[in-house]
């Protein structure tokens, strides 16, 4: 587990860093996919197989593809951004803010007792159990989620189609 953790973490971090720094939008998304894969790997490592698969299915199969589509539909087919943004005040202030927050959260984690928990870990979670919980204890959020997703689907179609419909 230890070795796997370090390798996957490195991959995940690499993916994340590349996703927010690369100049080419499509490359960004490909790096994002790498990041998603890393997260999925972490889920497998954490014995949450179902979530890992869901992560791949939804994030790589749907979200990443969606983002790619968005890039293509904004007519920026080659994915290249304009001239490099100047590292101005905005950039530095943003990065510094993020860095401060990150440093403080890390410090908090170091300080916290919780993070030194013994490594007693969960056994693999069964899909059956998750499924049963979903339709018993969590049925209301589950249904709400179904409605939300439907609404989001319709909403996304409406927003994206608005101009097309108006043109007709």
């Amino acid at each position: 587990m230890t070795t796997a953790f370090w390798i996957i973490s490195a991959v995940t971090l690499l993916g994340a860093v590349l996703a927010v720094t690369l100049r080419n939008l499509v490359h960004c998304v490909l790096a994002l996919i790498l990041f998603f894969l890393g997260i999925a790997g972490h889920y497998f490592l954490l014995r949450a197989d179902f979530l890992g698969v869901v992560q791949i299915l939804i994030y790589i199969g749907a979200v990443a593809v969606l983002i790619l589509f968005a890039i293509m539909l904004t007519r920026n087919v080659t994915g290249t951004e304009g001239p490099r943004e100047v590292f101005g005040l905005k950039w530095w202030s943003g990065a510094a803010t993020a860095a401060i927050i990150g440093a403080l959260v890390l410090a908090a984690i170091r300080r916290d007792e919780l993070s030194k928990l013994p490594t007693s870990t969960q056994a693999n979670s069964s899909v059956l159990e998750i499924g049963k919980l979903l339709v018993t204890d969590w049925v209301v959020p589950f249904e709400a989620m179904a409605v939300l997703l439907t609404a989001a689907l319709i909403g996304a179609v409406v927003i994206a189609l608005e101009e097309v419909l108006r043109r007709r």
């Binding site: 904004t74 989620m145 994206a160």
Partner: protein, 103 residues
């Protein structure tokens, strides 16, 4: 050295910071969305780690993670639809140019 919860929390914090930095510095709306997805995932990773290291004994954490994933999916769908709509209107996805609401 064995892996503890702290490792995962630190990893998630780093990922979150990266995402935050991306959301704060990049100008392209799509990349901002990408950065937001990264932050989402970092948070969800925390939840799963909490479950794995038995901070929560029930499957609640996994449920939360699953719902978060679903919400993130919905959010990205809507977000990207908005980006496309904005692009159609302004011919740009630069977040700095979306300033119609200024006072």
């Amino acid at each position: 050295m064995s892996i503890t919860l702290g490792h995962y929390l630190a990893l998630a914090a780093m990922l979150f910071t990266i995402g935050l930095a991306g959301a704060l510095t990049r100008k392209n709306a799509i990349i901002v969305l990408v950065a937001i997805e990264i932050m989402f995932n970092a948070a969800i990773l925390n939840l799963v780690a909490f479950w794995h290291f038995k901070v929560f004994t029930t499957l609640t954490a996994q449920m939360f993670a699953m719902f978060s994933i679903a919400i993130a999916a919905a959010e990205s769908a809507i977000g990207l639809a908005l980006v496309i709509a904005i692009y159609r209107h302004y011919r740009s996805v630069d977040v700095d140019e979306m300033k119609t609401l200024q006072g």
